[in-house]
Assembly symmetry: C2
Homo-oligomer: 362 residues x 2
DNA sequence: TTGAAAGCGCTAACAC
DNA sequence: GTGTTAGCGCTTTCAA
């Protein structure tokens, strides 16, 4: 009986090999996957040869390589990544961890655009992305994400409240890269925007537009926001203005109750002519709250947000914002992680902040 | 020299075990991870015992288990998931694949909220999430995501243009669950909103508000959108209205040029008094375009979107929208996947559509 | 150029 | 209860 090259795993060559491979205990049906030994048998070579052929080893002559590659493709064979990783003591999977107050922290569009950019870069490098979120209160979970050996390192998005744990990991030699503020005592590689400059740009722009009493919405406990606030203060100082404590409204990123926070603040009848919010989501909530009180944006109150999320241009009025380059951020995070994995000394990447002027501050 | 129990992996018991484990070829430094054999040696038991203890086998007496667990914790030991998976021929990782026109499809907030919900559910079940995106033109890549053996199955978000490939996978017995429309010939488990009902709710609401010429923005080539359009038509028919072809504007989800599309349509001076958009992002772009032409929402034109993204309530005017329950969707997707992996017959989950009335259609 | 054999870190029969 | 042994699917010496 003729043996077709593309017949399912079975065409054995020796009696010993002829016995059916034991089926797994799974209840499923077609769980049987073709594996390297099958290819080897069908190609009449050893598994080593198949392995070498598939990995493009120069030891294998082109003709053989072609034949084996073709056979593998026709069987839809894919190397078992787990087994290969185990043997090679290596993996091309990166752990991406979203840190936040709650699991819903994923809701900020900007965080997502960074995630997307990291994913794009990993795709380019033919690497995989293992995603997880962590909320406060379980610092050791971060290490576990690495210690279980599934990933070559961690890309961490968000650092507030995790700085110490991140330093601990870095000290242990865990390869990683963090999106956040460049804290002076960070032992880990950081990618972040130029927050001080961003704050400065936003505030000086508003001042140039004639604003004198610029409110700041954002939590200075948050390292990135603290820097934006410094830039804001620098711009005020340059203009001979001083920051009024009554114009500082702290709120946390991802806070669902942002609208209520803003409303409560407005109830206090503060005197102000502009708002600089530390995120676009907050700026949107603010604009909505102002509108409900018949305060016109930008005529009566000018608003500038932060991040320049994709939707910012689709708002009415469109939202002025300080752009953070998510695409570059993603690339830099991956690249710094790879450097860390190679054992290079850690470095920091600061990305430029650019003010995008739109209607809300016109 | 005294040997502390918490000293790093070394404290050997026999001469043979005393030789240092070979270091990997990695250039990094502290790559040496503690592993089961180390724990075993230090606890004076065999690796099997450690394995059993750590996995909570009833064979191991509580005291021993405690002792081993404690030792493992003190060394920050984590089981090597890859090795365990290989041996158990099992994995607790799920592949989540975002399908889209481009890799940037991740930009729609609603897709993200589903991703978040899937992540939450997987967390609850102590499973991991391997994320990847796929653009059109490489159908076989979807299968590869599974065949490489890293995941127990796939959760696929988006189905437009992939239906055949999805059916092919399902026929092969690949465990999966898909977010999309419940197509009649789908061989795979689907979770989706009640799109027909959603379209009906939106349109009949607008009609009740006095609208007569309701434009529909969305691509009927897209199965979910086609259903929403059917519901829209049903509502019109009930009211004795007919859909005017001039009031149909197709656009693709994730299209960055949505604003331009809407502007071009408006340039044609269409006669309309309402817009029902198949996504909130499109509804936002539409509202902005209308505003730029001095068309007041909702006074002159009422707008209803779809998805009820978190930002919808923060807009000015706040956006009426048909809510799709992302949280339930995520849970259902994971649960259907688990059923599929268990070999159950595939079923379909349709989630209710709820109209959230806000200012844009008041 | 190729194959045999060892072994990555773990789990599960099977024996004791 | 516990240890010994075999082996998950692959890669890589080493020898031919």
């Amino acid at each position: 009986m003729p043996r077709k090259a593309t017949s399912p795993p079975s065409g054995a060559t020796t009696d010993a090999a002829d016995q059916a491979r034991p089926r797994g205990p799974e209840s499923g049906s077609a769980r049987q996957r073709v594996q390297m030994a099958d290819i080897a048998r069908m190609a009449g070579v050893s598994a080593s040869t198949v392995s070498r052929a598939l990995s493009g080893s120069p030891l294998i002559p082109e003709a053989t390589r072609q034949r084996i590659t073709e056979l593998a493709r026709s069987l839809n064979y894919q190397i078992n990544v787990g087994a290969a990783n185990l043997r090679k003591r290596d993996t091309r999977t990166v752990g991406v961890v979203l840190l936040g107050e709650s699991l819903q922290a994923i809701s900020d569009p900007f965080i997502l655009s960074i995630l997307g950019a990291v994913g794009d870069r990993l795709d380019e490098l033919d690497m995989s992305l293992l995603l997880s979120r962590l909320k406060h209160g379980q610092p050791q979970q971060l290490a576990q994400r690495y210690d279980s050996g599934q990933v070559l390192g961690l890309i961490v998005i968000g650092q507030t409240g995790w700085h110490d744990e991140l330093n601990r990991l870095a000290a242990r030699g865990v390869p990683m890269a963090v999106w956040g503020a460049c804290l002076s005592d960070a032992l880990y590689p950081v990618v972040g925007g130029d927050n001080e400059q961003g704050g400065y740009l936003a505030a000086s722009h508003l001042i140039r537009r004639g604003c004198q009493r610029i409110a700041f919405f954002g939590d200075r406990e948050h390292p990135e926001v603290a820097l934006r606030h410094q830039g804001y203060q620098r711009a005020l100082a340059e203009a001979g203005l001083t920051a009024d404590a009554a114009l500082y409204l702290p709120y946390r990123f991802g806070d669902e109750g942002i609208r209520a926070t803003v409303d409560a603040w407005l109830d206090g009848q503060p005197e102000f002519d502009a708002v600089f919010a530390a995120s676009d989501v907050a700026a949107m909530a603010t604009t909505a709250a102002l509108g409900d009180r018949e305060l016109r944006v930008p005529q009566q109150v000018k608003v500038v947000g932060y991040d320049d999320i994709a939707l910012a241009g689709h708002l009415r009025p469109s939202l002025s914002s300080v752009r953070q380059p998510a695409r570059e951020a993603g690339r830099a995070l991956v690249d710094l992680l790879m450097e860390a994995a190679d054992g290079s000394k850690h470095r920091t990447v600061m990305l430029p902040a650019v003010l995008v002027e739109r209607e809300s501050s016109r």
